[in-house]
Amino acid sequence: MTALPLGDQAIAYRRPLGERLAASLPAIIVSIVIGLIVLPPVAVLIRTSLLSDDGAQWTLAHYATLFSDPRLYVSAWNSVTFSALAMLLSLLNGGIVAWLVERTNVPFKPLAYLSAIISLGTPYIIYVSAWLYILGRAGPLNASYRALTGETGLLFNVYSIPGMVLIEGVLWSPLVFLLLSATFRRSNADMEEAARMSGASVFATVTRISLRLAMPAIAGLGIFVFIRNLEAFDVPVLIGTPSKISLLTTDIYQSMTQVPPQLGHASAFSMLMMVIVAVLLHFYGRISKKAERYASITGKGFRPRPFDLGKGRWLGAALIVLNALLVLVLPLLAILYNSLTPFVRAMNLAGLSNLTLDHYRAVFAQAHYVELALNTVIVAASAATVAVALTAIAAWMSVRRWPYSGLIDQLTSVPLVFPGIVLGVAMIEMALNAPIPVYGTLWVIGMAFVIRYLPYGMRYSHAGIIQVHRELEDAAGISGATRPTILRRVLLPLISPSLIAGWLFIFLIGAKELSIAVLLAGYNAKTISVAMFDQWTNGAGGEVSAMGVIWTCVMTIFSSALYWVTRQRTDMASAK
């Protein structure tokens, strides 16, 4: 641990203290910076979980309630099943499409990117309700089933665990797609070429070489999505409650929506989640310890050659189209339909004959929405930039095992388990006690976004860096480059696809974030989701859908432009 990571075998003598300090200082500083960002909310969380609801005395009651729930084991089992299945669906759907797009010669590649970006730009509330609308009792699926068969029942009951898995799985497919496509773009050509020259089929090459090389990235992503699903509130609550399926988060939701909210219960739950996450990350750490074995970007040319799928191309194309249907077309159609009907109604011919643009007129009549949209873009873009910059450095140190970098990965993963409302409460408290007057400004919202999305930034950066073999950095180091130069000239260009994908992801989900933005909103510091939520509680579902359609268009144009520009540049850089 005392040696510099560069060429550690060669050095046998013990270095002087100053040098050792210089070697360990950067990682310590980064750990402290991340700690300062992440730990204060944890402190608030721990305190809330141990204080009685009136805040008067210390108590373990919240933990007692958590563990004394007779349905705890059923809920826990439901939660694990749901999280695991939804994770598998996301990995399969997002992963296969990512591989097809990046490593084969299938047609319709742009469609896959478009689906991911547009669906990430669509606000959750309307995305999930669109799915419920399609699959609900009165929705087009069950209605046409009844019309065709004359039955009175349901073909598919969406208010069930399979329904939950389907919607959550589809919801997080774009995350997997964006992350894995960055990984696959950089997978090792040498080994694949060697395998294929030795006569291996495409299938064998993929399963025995490509997949195994991508394994640390996939495993990390799997654990990440699993944790995300485990702590998800919206889908389990919206879909589970009507049919009384209880998950771990169901009760927490109720305690958070009461007036006044019972935050102790939610905080105790978050603490429990934090322990689970620590355990899962420990196992992930053991996988990624052997990361160098999987590094696929080495000193030799790494430009991978796409597989020729032959007639299989069309099967691949069909998969991309199916993915687009699931992730994009169906929900968007439902949202579009809802934005055009005067009131929420079943999708049928009678509805089609009575469409109106009233909701769009209502949206455009509100001039202050422009200001809100601008606020949103500024906050989300700044938060994404800070989070990605910070995690790129943090991930570099963590993957290369700099001295004293052991805690970095754990620290950045902590915010993953904060329920939005708990983080919001912590931010209010911190902002009010801050020496500079930031309370009620966009700064606080931006800061909260950085904290909340740090883990996501880490996943993207980590997956990118793990693929780059350190020999490239060592070569630069031996040629006299300093570490900042190595970072800037060698590493950043190589991992830029991951970083751009991460930036885009954080930007898009930050722009539609709800619970924190609504809680921290102040006069002059409101984002567009505050307005959407406001209209939503008012029941102006049509207007919210119209806003959603417009917002999705704006986000799509903005991020596609950005994506193509940066992609073109990295393509040129890597083609050299």
């Binding site: 609900g136 919206l238 009507p242 109720q254 007036v259 005067p342 009131f343 009575n354 209010i428 209209q535």
Partner: protein, 348 residues
């Protein structure tokens, strides 16, 4: 003698006039003084759980028009959000809001010491059940929570007419309600039943109702009503009556029912210990005045001021000729947890 009488009368008249003048002048002076002081502050920060475009902005605009030079700064949010915010601000000793509008937030905020007691002049016109005798709160809008049916799925005449009708086996698994644990949601429905029927009969009824397997919709009242309109469920409990009217006017197949007594709830307005106390008082006076309440009525809400008519008169009990049971903030404070535990025990 006559002159004495005349003089006496004159004196009395003079005295009366003087008293009248003395009585009138300070009242007028206070108001002018309040306006002046409010103008000096120049703004009022309003924490408000009303829908911003629909009512909060129109009210603010009407106030700014009447008192130019005083800006209303709207901080929107759900009742829960605003309570969290204010509790945090109170704890840190820096309350940023001047006036608050919210339903059940009075008591948590009163306990935390965030409320500045103040009995507005305008509240004199309000009946005692719509204001706190100690000046903690005054009602600024009323709500009536009713059952609603999809008229395509439930033919006219076959809809339930009393609470007992809800127990008809044909409704099994077909009644939806919101899981909101407030006086406006499932908890309020349970509270109304217990208040109206008494503890014993009420619980017996609720147990039978639970056997009907109500569908818990984890969203607000409006979303539940939308699901009724879309045909997901034929019947819903605890929806706002004016929502049904608004949608029905656009052609939606929905109708609200008067199962008596209907749940009545109120939104409250009150003064916070904020940085602009005078502008706060002036704005509170305005919200509760006839002018302010007319803005409330024009936005489609039900005004609390007894002299201001609702836009659709039939939505208020007097106009619609139905009985309502008002769940006052005091009752909610003392009984809400009990209602929630009944929900958890029977319906969850």
């Amino acid at each position: 003698m006559k002159s004495l009488w005349t003089r006496l009368c004159g004196l009395l008249c003079a005295a009366f006039l003087a008293v009248a003048f003395l009585a009138a002048a300070p009242a007028h002076a206070v108001e002018q003084a309040l306006i002046d002081a409010a103008k000096k502050e120049g703004k009022v920060v309003w924490y408000v759980s009303l829908v911003e475009n629909q009512l909060a902005r129109p009210l603010a605009a009407a106030f700014e028009k009447k008192y130019p030079g005083i800006q209303v700064q709207i901080v929107p949010g759900t009742a829960t959000d605003l309570v969290i915010k204010l509790l945090g601000e109170t704890k840190a000793g820096q309350i940023r809001g001047d006036v608050h509008h919210g339903g059940s937030s009075v008591w948590p905020l009163a306990k935390a010491g965030a409320i500045e007691k103040y009995m507005p002049e305008a509240a004199k016109a309000y009946p005692p059940e719509l204001k706190d005798p100690n000046g903690l709160w005054v009602a600024d809008a009323l709500y009536y929570l009713v059952a609603a049916v999809n008229t395509e799925l439930v033919p006219a005449g076959s809809e339930p007419k009393t609470y007992q009708d809800l127990l008809d086996p044909k409704w099994k698994g077909k009644i939806a309600w919101t899981t909101q644990m407030t006086q406006g949601g499932a908890a309020g429905f349970i509270g109304t039943v217990l208040q109206a029927m008494g503890q014993e009969k009420g619980m017996a009824f609720l147990k039978q109702l639970a056997a009907q397997k109500l569908v818990n919709v984890p969203s607000n009242q409006r979303v539940v009503l939308d699901q009724v309109i879309a045909g997901e469920y034929p019947l819903a409990l605890a929806t706002f009556n004016y929502h049904s009217d608004i949608s029905a006017a656009k052609g939606a197949p929905v109708k609200w029912l008067k199962l008596e007594p209907v749940t009545g709830t109120l939104d409250t307005a009150f003064l916070l210990k904020g940085p602009n106390p005078n502008a706060g008082k002036l704005f509170l006076e305005f919200i509760l005045s006839e002018d302010g309440q007319k803005v409330v009525a024009n936005a489609g809400y039900l005004p609390a001021h007894p002299a201001v008519q609702a836009k659709v008169a039939a939505q208020k009990p007097e106009g619609g000729n139905y009985k309502a049971l008002l769940l006052s903030p005091e009752l909610v404070e003392s009984d809400l947890q009990k209602w929630i535990s009944v929900y958890n025990e029977l319906f969850k």
